[in-house]
Amino acid sequence: MRRIPSHIGLALACLMLAVFLLFPLYYAVLTSLKSGSDLFRVSYWPRDVDLANYVRVWGEQSFARNILNSIVVAVCVVLISLALSVSAAFALSRVRFAGRKTLLYAILAISMFPQVAVLSGLFEVIRVLGLYNNIAGLVLSYMIFTLPFTVWVLTTFMRDLPVELEEAAIMDGLSSLAIVRHIFLPLMAPAMAATGLLAFIAAWNEFLFALTFTLSNEQRTVPVAIALITGASEYELPWGNIMAASVIVTVPLIVLVLVFQRRMVAGLTAGAVKG
């Protein structure tokens, strides 16, 4: 008998939570489909669909370029961090050598660095390498937050793979590189997909370095471009454009996250719960 009211309570709690979680995105989509004076009248349901904001945002020369920059940066960051960390994870998980644990903790400690703490030093490095106002500089600088994470997760994952696999391969006379390529890589595909996706999202969303290390519209990534969209004055922000741009960069990400949600959650919790 007590079950029925508690079911209603549960349903109500879930409904409120869902509204709280999803309403901002819904409202952004709603706003992006309005134009003119309609924008400034609050409404809760779509009345007519007006794609003018989307057309205008795409029409701005730099926006397509900013999206391309974001894609190039995020893809390069994922590929480079995965390649480097698979190789490091092999050494850290399968070979016994002095200082291995210390090294692993030192790498983990780097993920605790606040980005602002390296800002001026990194600025100098990027300038010396001639990468200021160049998306390659962003790819390099993003390694500071993707590498510690990917190394850590892949090391924990590789440590759990059976030793027999490797012993058999050594017996067959395979080199270390061949062992990594033919034995570990196929087994690690799921873990790499999860960590790669998390690295992609981190790179796609990054703001402080992108704001500091780029200067011109053509080199900016999407978050900086959206943050810097301005109107005729500070008080006349083109909210329709901003919301259209926001929806464009968010929807693919959400689709990606929902498609891979099981792996994502596993990747997120791998570092923390499994330790």
């Binding site: 009248r41 490091a88 070979v95 692993l104 660095f113 703490a117 990194l122 300038r127 919301m243």
Partner: protein, 306 residues
């Protein structure tokens, strides 16, 4: 003999495999960190980072002609310090409490649980800058939907300037951070809850212990270690807060954080020496508070010995 040379060969290979990661991490993390400390002792400017002279610790604190100078005596930095601490304590507490509550809710078996779990990932997946813009629009004083809802419900009499009013802007920013990151805490807490053995609850039920007592005496101690790690991730993020606040309110005294202060000195004011001192202080404060937290919680970050 063969065994020995095999393993030393493997050790050599191990360092070879490690070297790319180590080189990159030195180049983007350790060297820049050391350089930032170094610059904090100079009067370098952004326009010319190679022409500078040593000024000792005067960027941090100096006494000259009856006045204190340096970051540590800068009233704006002290405001930023206070703002950051308020932001960290309030947002991380709320995120932990709500995160656990949501995890408890989603740990119950009911139809639609999968949908709810997917919905939780949405705020987390939205780029921070985009979240900041979405909420800025919703919190807009004249045309915002939040004011519209609250006025309709009779909770407030007239529209409120959520982001422009200094007494409200910090609360608004915290609310958005809670919206964005509670799902992260909830997901980690949920993963921990699902590992709690069922017989723990059954034993408590047999003994006739009430649900609230069960939570504090059975559930919380069991998910405690996982929760402590979720909290440390949140603490680290909150202490270095930059993007959300920067986009929502800009650099104003009411919400300026330590990272925003350092970035502004460095980039807008081009003062590499002073900005680096502020950056180094962010690092020191975070390192100090994190080690304090790890020690008091006795966290075993490594879990099983590797």
């Amino acid at each position: 003999m063969a065994q020995r040379s095999l393993s030393s060969g493997r050790r050599r290979a191990a360092w070879l495999f490690l070297s790319p990661v180590l080189v990159v991490l030195v180049a983007v993390a350790l060297w820049p960190l050391a350089r930032t400390f170094y610059f904090s002792l100079t009067n370098a400017t952004l326009a010319n980072m190679s022409d500078y002279r040593f000024v000792g610790v005067s960027n941090y604190l100096a006494y000259d002609g009856g006045r204190w100078y340096g970051v540590l005596s800068d009233p704006q930095w002290l405001t930023a310090l206070r703002n950051t601490m308020v932001f960290v304590v309030v947002s991380v507490s709320l995120e932990t409490i709500f995160g656990v509550l949501i995890a408890l809710l989603l740990n119950a078996r009911f139809p639609g649980r999968g949908v709810m779990r997917a919905a939780m990932l949405v705020p987390w997946a939205i780029p921070t800058v985009v979240s900041a813009k979405m909420w800025s629009w919703m919190l807009n004083d004249q045309f915002g939907v939040i004011n519209d809802v609250l006025v309709r419900l009779g909770i407030i009499a007239a529209p409120v300037a959520w982001l422009a009013d200094p007494s409200l802007s910090m609360a608004s920013v915290i609310m958005v951070d809670v919206w964005k990151t509670t799902p992260f805490v909830a997901l980690l807490a949920l993963a921990a809850l699902q590992m709690v053995p069922k017989d723990c609850y059954e034993a408590a039920e047999v003994d006739g212990v009430g649900p609230i007592k069960v939570f504090f005496h059975v559930t919380l101690p069991l998910i405690g270690p996982a929760l402590a790690i979720a909290v440390i991730f949140r603490l680290l993020d909150a202490m270095r807060m930059f993007d959300l606040v920067y986009v929502m309110t800009g650099t104003t005294d009411a919400t300026m954080t330590l990272s925003m202060f350092a970035q502004r000195e460095l980039v807008s004011f081009q003062d590499v020496g002073y900005g680096s001192a502020a950056s180094s202080l962010v690092f020191l404060i975070i390192a100090l508070l994190t080690s304090l937290y790890v020690m008091t919680m006795r966290l075993d970050l490594g879990g099983r010995s590797g």
